[in-house]
Symmetry: C2
Subunit: 336 residues, 2 copies
Amino acid sequence: MATLKEVAKLAKVDPSVVSRVVNNDPALNIKTETRKRILDAIEKMNYRPNLSARNLKKGQSKMLGMIIPDFSNPVYSSMIHGAEDQAAHEGYNLLVYSMKQKGLEKSYSPLLEGQIEGLLIANSEIDNKEILELKKTKKPFILVNRFVPGIDNYVVANDVLGAKLATKHLIDQGHHLIAHISGPLFTGTGLNRFQGYREGLQEKNVDFSPVYVQESKYTVESGYESMQRLLDLPTPPTAVFASNIMICLGAMKAIHDRGLSVPKDISIIGVHDVFFASTLQPPLTTIEMPLYDMGKEAVKKLITIIQGDEGENERGIMIDGASLILRSSTSPPPFS
Amino acid sequence: MATLKEVAKLAKVDPSVVSRVVNNDPALNIKTETRKRILDAIEKMNYRPNLSARNLKKGQSKMLGMIIPDFSNPVYSSMIHGAEDQAAHEGYNLLVYSMKQKGLEKSYSPLLEGQIEGLLIANSEIDNKEILELKKTKKPFILVNRFVPGIDNYVVANDVLGAKLATKHLIDQGHHLIAHISGPLFTGTGLNRFQGYREGLQEKNVDFSPVYVQESKYTVESGYESMQRLLDLPTPPTAVFASNIMICLGAMKAIHDRGLSVPKDISIIGVHDVFFASTLQPPLTTIEMPLYDMGKEAVKKLITIIQGDEGENERGIMIDGASLILRSSTSPPPFS
DNA sequence: TTCAAAAAGGAAAACGTTTGTCTATTGATT
DNA sequence: AATCAATAGACAAACGTTTTCCTTTTTGAA
């Protein structure tokens, strides 16, 4: 590959001048005539700046990292997309890691080694402890959709609101026996959606009953099992609010496998309006969370942290915008 | 951040020695006593090598790029996963780009600028022309699930076989009126699956009829429309082979929207066994393609190309392993 | 004791940029 | 014509490593 020096030689000019032309350095003046000569040389030699060299010199990498649990989890797709868009918009690249294959240690080594300038952690599988450890390095990072006590750099959605919307919608349809398959209750999302569920019930004066709450992992299998337990109840619920789309998928399958029908026998609503929600049978009523915006805002905030523009002392950000996407998996309960 | 020099000073040793310790340089001998001193210093200063500097010096980046059309397309998730695993296994990072936001020009600039050492192109939206253009740069790249005349570096699946499996399965169920919603016929996958469909019919002595073939884009919407056209036929098919999971989703929706039922009225089988195929109602019979392995093999081959170990003169690779995943969306035709 | 060879470590250049400073040229003002 | 300021470009150091080639020290056999 051609280097700056070679271009400079061809254009009969000092490398520094070429550099300034390449970077459009506003401080220095360059005659249009020589600028043209340099541009021609660049063109002719197919010159491209070497990023390693530039990054070394400038002490930057223009690259951000993002840890997700798993590429095939559609919940993260929109978040990645938002993050990537915003990163590109600010001149950064986004290096997305799944956790499947590496420990966190490995995952933040790109941060320590200057390969990335900041890290988005969108992963509930990482210990709080490890994250507090990471904080000690003073390297920029931000938690997405996650809360850890003592860490102020986070972007979350309004999970309480979303869950409330879901619960109230079911009540408005006439349901009183509303179950909740929650996410893990040691996670912020799980906890907040559970809280939203309770508040929703309360605000509509519907009794809360612990037997209608099943704590589940965010997986199809776990959702399936939780739903089975609910169906085994002496008085099964007539409606279910699933804390997450994976859980929802599993729950629906459990309902069908019992020979029951959605929404005739049981209504179901889930969080996360993924692309295939509308193609399911029946089309799923969901709560849409602002995943794209969370990705975007997380990158925005991360970059302000990187640039040292205060940011540090700001509190976490909550993105509003949870909304009810009404489709056909919810309807009034039977016999009501 | 601590640098090599600082560590060297603390350990009272030359930077070069520290470098050798860090890299476990086998050529040079270092007294265990001084090695320990150096290791201690590294520990104490929390030293991490600067990757930009290392990469500049070594003329490498240990990073691979991958272009996909869209993060939320589940077809690519497994491919990414396989690619990431293999890359990690060989000490590389994988930088995944979606095309949504950048032109190819932007997408291969990391390659030209030495940010990545090689590129996986898993994207049918890029022109052949652009790819041939890229070839001229002599930079390592590989086509995944895609064929471009004149380019030998590709990894594809056995699409013909997969399509044949699907078609024959439908015939074995007793169908004769079997439609095919193909992918774009200017793509290798679209074309090969179409060919597999025809061969499947032929080998089982079922007549081929062009009216039963709908060319579609790989999207839910396009699949929906194609299915509608098939249902409008004077003699609609009793079974459909969809060239792709997105198409399949759209087609199923179209069937349901007509008040028809799968598989009672119409059987359907699609390519790509994505994670939610089994949770759909009815659970989808699919053709599983070796997406994970394609990602893996693509990275393997790309790295041999990068290392200049011949590779160049090898032909493209076809990964076998298409297999029928039998679920409940296919059954014998009505009245047969 | 001597000496050669092996072991251990040091010196310095290089990778391809960026950028602060310095010099030479130009143009404008008296 | 002389002066000064602005303009254009050159010089050189630096970023943090790696690696080739030395030099010094140690080892062990003669």
